[in-house]
């Protein structure tokens, strides 16, 4: 009679899978067993599994630490003694777990390739990946030059550009490492590819945000809307990181991606909030300034600008009365 025995981790991840065609199987640390375990808490002759013509019967061979299974009725751990095995049942021997499965055990439905898989194949294509990383490094270098009040030459730009690229590569490396450690496929190049695509999208969203706040007046809600763009992008990146690196349900993936987005933006908001002084004599306003070629909006006239200013006097006067 056929039987399959799986060695699994405590998180029920598969370590090894054995298939037998005979009716008598021994499990233990001794070299004469059918399955030779390495766990020192297992005895040389630990378990035997026999087919009695109708059922598979598991029996502990008088081991020191015993063998146990989760009893579904009493909801406790029961010791194995002439136990009739059901397909899919998990047994604890020493500190190791084994799962016994019959050949007719049902398997979950096959997962079709998601549309993301095609994108992922594209993003980890060497040329696409190289172009993406290069683009990221160039934008970083260009921004460094832009924020530097003096003229900067090309070699001076290389250090921050390469440095930032390496720094940002740490995230996909980290994610790949975690998936590797949790017995998933690391898929490093996939992670690297998708991360740099999103990093570049972030630059784009930064640019859009700048253009919006440059063009929009303080009365407009457009700049507020543009501020949501990076949050959405970050969520998508985390979601895809989970998709590539880990097997999990959609719901779980969404929850994890949301939590990480919250941690990132909530955390940076908290840091900013805690640094804000109780009272500042400096005026705060949106200082975004761009070259005339990025100006698309219609100019306001002085009269309506002053009309809008009137509301500020009321706000300030109310604030003064509240504080008194």
């Amino acid at each position: 009679m056929e039987i399959i025995i799986e060695e699994i981790t405590r998180a029920h991840k598969l370590i090894a899978r054995h298939k037998f065609m005979h009716n008598h199987i021994n499990i233990g640390r001794g070299y004469d067993n059918d399955i030779i375990m390495a766990d020192p808490h297992i005895c040389a002759q630990h378990l035997s599994l026999n087919f009695n013509g109708e059922h598979w019967v598991l029996n502990d061979e008088g081991s020191i630490n015993g063998s146990f299974y989760d009893d579904e009725f009493s909801k406790t751990k029961s010791a194995v003694h002439q136990h009739i095995v059901r397909s899919g049942q998990v047994f604890m021997i020493g500190k190791s777990l084994v799962r016994i499965v019959f050949p007719d055990h049902p398997v979950p439905e096959s997962v079709s390739f998601s549309p993301f898989e095609n994108i992922l194949t594209l993003t980890r294509h060497p040329i696409f990946l190289a172009v993406n990383i290069l683009l990221f490094a160039s934008v970083t270098g260009w921004l460094f030059n832009l924020h530097n009040p003096v003229e900067v030459n090309f070699t001076q730009l290389l250090v921050p550009a390469i440095g930032m690229t390496l720094l940002f590569a740490l995230w996909p490396i980290g994610v790949a490492l975690v998936s590797h450690l949790t017995k998933h496929d690391a898929r490093f190049w996939g992670q690297l590819g998708i991360c740099f695509v999103f990093y570049n999208l972030m630059w784009l969203s930064d640019f859009i945000e700048n253009i919006t706040s440059f063009n929009a007046s303080s009365q407009s809600i457009l700049s507020l809307l543009a501020a949501f763009l990076p949050i959405v992008l970050a969520f998508c990146l985390f979601w895809l990181n989970c998709q590539i690196g880990f097997h999990m349900t959609n719901r779980r993936r969404t929850v994890i991606a949301s939590c990480m987005t919250l941690l990132l933006f909530g955390g940076s908001f908290l840091i900013q909030f805690s640094k804000k002084p109780e009272f500042s004599i400096r005026p705060t306003f949106n200082t975004t300034l761009m070259a005339p070629s990025y100006l698309f909006t219609h100019s306001n006239n002085v009269q309506s600008f002053l009309e809008n200013s009137k509301a500020l006097f009321n706000d300030a006067q109310e604030a003064a009365l509240e504080d008194k």
Partner: protein
């Protein structure tokens, strides 16, 4: 030789005559001259000192507002008292202030008529010898001879230019002519024999208004004075000629009025600078003291013309963006005095259609003086690739109406050539 001796003798006799006269004046006036002390109630020690002089038989004493400002602002924290020439102390009550001219009237209890200073009827002549009295640095009452040099030119509120040492602690002390009549009150110094006095007519005004009606609340009186003065100032500014002057390729308004003074600077000598920067700023030289960390009444206007040399437009504006973040209010004030700034910004083109600016308008309200605001405006042109014009002003302690009128005139005046 004989002539020389006569000359020396003559000089010595003139000097000794002046000294004698100063001594005579001092002796005569000493009983009505006081040191004024602001006593911190919690510690029981004096927290600041100044001078004062009696101007009526019933115990009314004139001094500077800034000498007793601590008491005017925080009546529960301080008491005021006088210290007379015999070393006797007496408590004082605050009666009235003129915060614009830095004057205050305090009163001591008087059982009988007391000697007092007479206020002059006429303005001194240029070069006339005057005697400043006061107690500098708590060293004891002194008399300082000096000369009257007319009114300070560049000043919105009149100040006498007195050539003689006025030191701290002498603030609030009287300045008298040879007839021992008060012609001014010590108020400030510019170092090295340059002193400033409040003209006697300001004191006379305050005294007469006090006699007709005593102010009900010092804070309300101050608020009214501040608002009136700033409205008068803004009206004067708006009615004056606004001359358009070139600054690089831009045209900036300069108010043609003596008390607004302008200065300029540029980096034209720096060959390696990546941006040519030309700066002009115009401001009112005086401001109104309210307390040590709260000044108002200031006006400043600043213009900056910037031109990129071999710089991309994007980087040029990036450099300019940094200038926006550095903007600061023009007057000193803190959390207890003002609210935080409320701001708005927009892209604005004035009706001359000659320039397009990113304009920012901010205002904050005074907590103790209702309907008075500090206003700050900054605009940067965003219509030329390699040139930009920054225009900026701050006005302190104005009403909403004045502020908006001034802002309108300012915004409509800026343009390109």
């Amino acid at each position: 030789m004989k002539g020389l001796t006569t000359l020396i003798l003559l000089c010595v006799s003139t000097i000794s005559y002046a000294t004698e006269q100063a001594e005579e004046i001092f002796k005569q006036l000493a009983p009505s001259l006081y040191q004024i002390r602001l006593i911190d109630i919690a510690s029981g020690e004096k927290s600041s000192i100044g001078s004062g002089f009696q101007i009526s038989a019933d115990g009314l004493i004139a001094t500077n507002y800034h000498v007793i400002s601590g008491y005017a602002r925080h009546p529960n924290k301080y008491t005021i008292e006088i210290f007379d020439h015999q070393g006797k102390k007496a408590p004082l009550t605050l009666q009235s202030v003129d915060v614009i001219n830095d004057l205050a009237l305090v009163k001591r209890a008087a059982d009988s008529d007391m000697p007092f200073f007479k206020i002059a009827k006429r303005v001194p002549q240029k070069g006339e010898e005057l005697y400043s009295l006061g107690n500098p640095h708590d060293l004891g009452m002194i008399v300082v001879p000096g000369t009257y040099n007319g009114l300070k030119n560049e000043s919105f509120n009149d100040r006498i230019h007195f050539t003689g040492s006025v030191n701290s602690g002498m603030s609030g002390g009287p300045v008298v002519n040879k007839n021992a009549e008060v012609v001014g009150i010590n108020v400030a110094t510019s170092g090295n024999q340059i002193g400033f006095l409040v003209p006697h007519d300001k004191l006379l005004n305050l005294y007469q208004r006090y006699k007709t009606a005593k102010p009900k609340s010092i804070a309300a009186q101050m608020a009214q004075q501040l608002a009136d003065n700033q409205d008068k100032l803004i009206t004067t500014l708006l009615n004056s000629e606004w001359q358009m002057r070139p600054l690089g390729e831009g045209l900036i308004p300069v108010v043609n009025i003596p008390f607004i003074r302008c200065w300029g600077e540029s980096n034209a000598d720096k060959a390696d600078a990546i941006v040519l920067a030309v700066v002009a700023n115009c401001s009112l030289d005086e401001n109104t003291y309210i307390s040590n960390d709260f000044f108002t009444g200031s006006i400043e206007m600043e213009y900056r013309y910037m031109q990129a040399k071999e710089l991309s437009d994007t980087k040029f504006y990036q450099i300019f963006e940094r200038q926006l973040t550095q903007v600061m209010p023009g007057n000193k004030a803190d959390k207890d005095d003002v609210t935080e700034f409320q701001c708005q910004h927009d892209i604005v083109t004035p009706s001359n259609q000659a320039i397009t600016n990113k304009s920012v308008f901010c205002t904050r309200a005074y907590k103790d003086f209702p309907k008075l605001f500090d206003v700050l405006y900054i605009a940067i042109s965003v219509d030329k690739g390699d040139q930009a014009l920054l225009s900026h002003f701050t006005v302190a302690g104005v009403t909403q109406n004045s502020a908006l009128k001034f802002t309108e005139k300012f915004m409509e005046s800026i343009s390109w050539k």
